[in-house]
Amino acid sequence: MTPTLTLFLIISAALFSIGLLAALSRRHAIFILIGIEMMLAAANLNFIAFWRFAPQPQAPTGVMVAIFSIAIAAAEAAIGLALVISVYRHYRTTNVEKLDQLKG
C-alpha cells in the first residue's frame, strides 16, 4: 500500500491546525510568526501533493506555485521578524496582548 492523497491532505490539515494553534494561543509575537510559517508550509504540502496525484502531472504548476510561495514566505518572515524587533524596541515587549492600541 502506498500513501494516498487523502493521507497527505490529513497530514497537511494537521500541520495547518497546529500552526493555527500556535498563532492563536501563544502570547509571544515570534510564536505567531512560527505558526504562520507552519500554515504556509502546510499549504505548500497541499500544492505538491495535488500536483503529484493529478492525472496529468506534466505541467509542474503545483511545484511552481510552491516555489513562489516559499519565496514569498521568506520575504514575509524577514519583514515579520523585523517588525517584531522594531515593536520590541518601541514598546519593550513582544507580548501581543499588550499591543492593543488599535482597540475601538
Binding site: L5, T6, R27, I34, F53, M64, V84
Partner: protein, 160 residues
C-alpha cells in the same frame, strides 16, 4: 513511495510542529520548528519534488530558522515570560482541524494511487521558470528586494 517511510516522517514532522507550537521556551520551539521543516522537506522528496524539498531546506532551515533564532536573541530581555496560553485559540484550532478532516473525508475520489510520472528535473524547472513563469519570477525578485530594503529600514536604529 513507501508507506513506512511516510508514516515515520509524518509522525516526526507533526511531533516537531506540535512541540514548536507548545513548548514554553522560545529557543526550544525554534529548534523543534527546524525538525518540522526538515520533515516537510522529506515529504516533498517522497512526493518526487526534490527541488522544492531542497529549497525548503535552504530557505526554511537555512534562513528563516536562523532569522527566528536571531530575533529571539535580540528580544530575549523581554521581562514577561514567553509561556502563556490562550485556550480559546486552542478551541478554534481544534474546530478548524475537525472541519478540515470532515471535508477531506467527505470528498470522494481522493484515494486514487499516484500515477507514474517522469522525474521532474531541475533543468525542466529552470526552463519553465524562464519561459512561462518569467513575470512571476521578476515580481518575486522585486518583492524580495523590497522586503530586504523594508526589513533594513524597519530594524534601523531610530534617530532621535
Amino acid at each position: 513511495m513507501s508507506t513506512a517511510a511516510f508514516i515515520v516522517i509524518a509522525i516526526l514532522m507533526l511531533a516537531g510542529a506540535l512541540a514548536a507550537a507548545t513548548l514554553s521556551k522560545l529557543i526550544h520551539a525554534a529548534l523543534c520548528l527546524v525538525i518540522a521543516f526538515i520533515g516537510i522537506a522529506a515529504l516533498f522528496f517522497l512526493l518526487g519534488a526534490e527541488f522544492v524539498g531542497l529549497v525548503q531546506i535552504f530557505v526554511y532551515v537555512g534562513a528563516v530558522a536562523v532569522l527566528i533564532v536571531f530575533t529571539i536573541l535580540l528580544t530575549r530581555h523581554a521581562e514577561e515570560p514567553t509561556s502563556g496560553f490562550n485556550w480559546s485559540g486552542v478551541l478554534v484550532a481544534v474546530a478548524v482541524f475537525a472541519g478540515l478532516i470532515w471535508v477531506i473525508l467527505q470528498t470522494p475520489s481522493l484515494s486514487a494511487p499516484a500515477p507514474v510520472i517522469e522525474a521532474l528535473t531541475v533543468k525542466r524547472i529552470g526552463e519553465v521558470l524562464m519561459t512561462d513563469y518569467i513575470w512571476p519570477l521578476q515580481c518575486v525578485g522585486l518583492l524580495l528586494t523590497a522586503a530586504l530594503v523594508g526589513g533594513l529600514i524597519l530594524v534601523m536604529e531610530e534617530k532621535r
